[in-house]
Symmetry: C3
């Protein structure tokens, strides 16, 4: 039985790299939210306005847009991270695995770009969401097939 969670397994090494890309992306969303709040001077805790000035406001459209993009990440990326790890452990075809990881990361980055950075008309965002979903479903189905083989 070969060891799979090692860095000379190309599938695991690529997975590990995409974990970093996706985790950094999620953490960046927190900073983008904070940046929007400071730029627009709208905060949600009194200790923030005491420190930074500005006003308490719960529904600023620009801040909420970043927060929705962030929440969409939280709904999807942790699912990918753990499913991806189990997927590495089924020892999948290397080419397929690498393409799935790349497609997922690409879709998630583009999802945020069309949602927050340059708002592009729908269904751009929905397509990126479904691209990511497709990867998660493909990996999930392949894991289930391995369980029942």
């Amino acid at each position: 039985m070969k060891d799979l969670l090692v860095f000379n397994n190309e599938v695991f090494r690529t997975y590990a790299f995409h974990v970093v890309l996706l985790v950094f992306k999620m953490l960046l969303m927190s900073l983008m939210t904070a940046f929007q709040r400071m730029k627009k001077k709208v905060f949600v805790s009194p200790e923030d306005t005491s420190f930074m000035g500005g006003i308490l406001k719960y529904d600023d459209a620009d801040v909420e847009r970043v927060r929705r993009a962030h929440l969409n990440d939280l709904e999807n990326i942790p699912a990918f991270l753990i499913t991806g790890l189990i997927f590495v452990l089924i020892n999948p075809n290397e080419t397929l695995a690498l393409q799935l990881f790349r497609l997922y990361t690409l879709c998630r980055y583009l999802h945020t770009i069309v949602y927050v950075v340059i708002v592009i008309r729908q269904p751009a965002r929905t397509l990126m969401f479904f691209g990511g979903l497709l990867v998660n479903i493909t990996m999930g189905v392949m894991i289930a097939m391995k369980v029942y083989e």
Copy 2:
């Protein structure tokens, strides 16, 4: 030292299957939210109303109910996924592990059913929440015991 993260370890194989069941459940919640928004024609981004028609509305009761159920998943399921993986690595009693995984998944599915699909009076939802919590706490305590043995 036997290898634990392999598919001929019954505990890991069952864990992997429940990862799929729970990840698919979480992804389904995104689709249920989108479905409710389209059915009730209420959206939160202007590019969505431009594409789909309907109105911008942030507090539709049916949409918010699905979103709360989804958020409750996000608060609990990722914790299970990672705790469950570490739990597999303590090489627990097989029967206990399988029953914990099954109980967890059952509680989370029923939690959503009584919250969103057929709203049943409380404390139905709270009991399902505590069922899931009990599994996470049991696994956590057993991991801590292994750390200090």
Copy 3:
């Protein structure tokens, strides 16, 4: 190749213990929200007021404060849990790894304390947030370096 995901690897054992500390912390936030709702008698689902009395209210300041602290956990802790696992697999320097895990957990606990338990003026909360972020970035960069070594 030595096995890394085993309890006689001090780095993994410490990681596993911090997983428990952080998962229990996240689960505690759910209970703190429920406790605040019951104490202030404000709920968001009609079946809750039917069961517990009180009123439907969506913007109670004390409840929302706990929820924001919880959401901040959800934005950060799952990222740590999976990044930490991959970090264990790069077989890092033991002293560094243990200090990173301890710093992370300390920052996250203090983040909640200064946000919810005893509200301390800013930038206390922001500093705790950046302490946690620093750990996640350090681990991420070290993983990326391992990928490309």
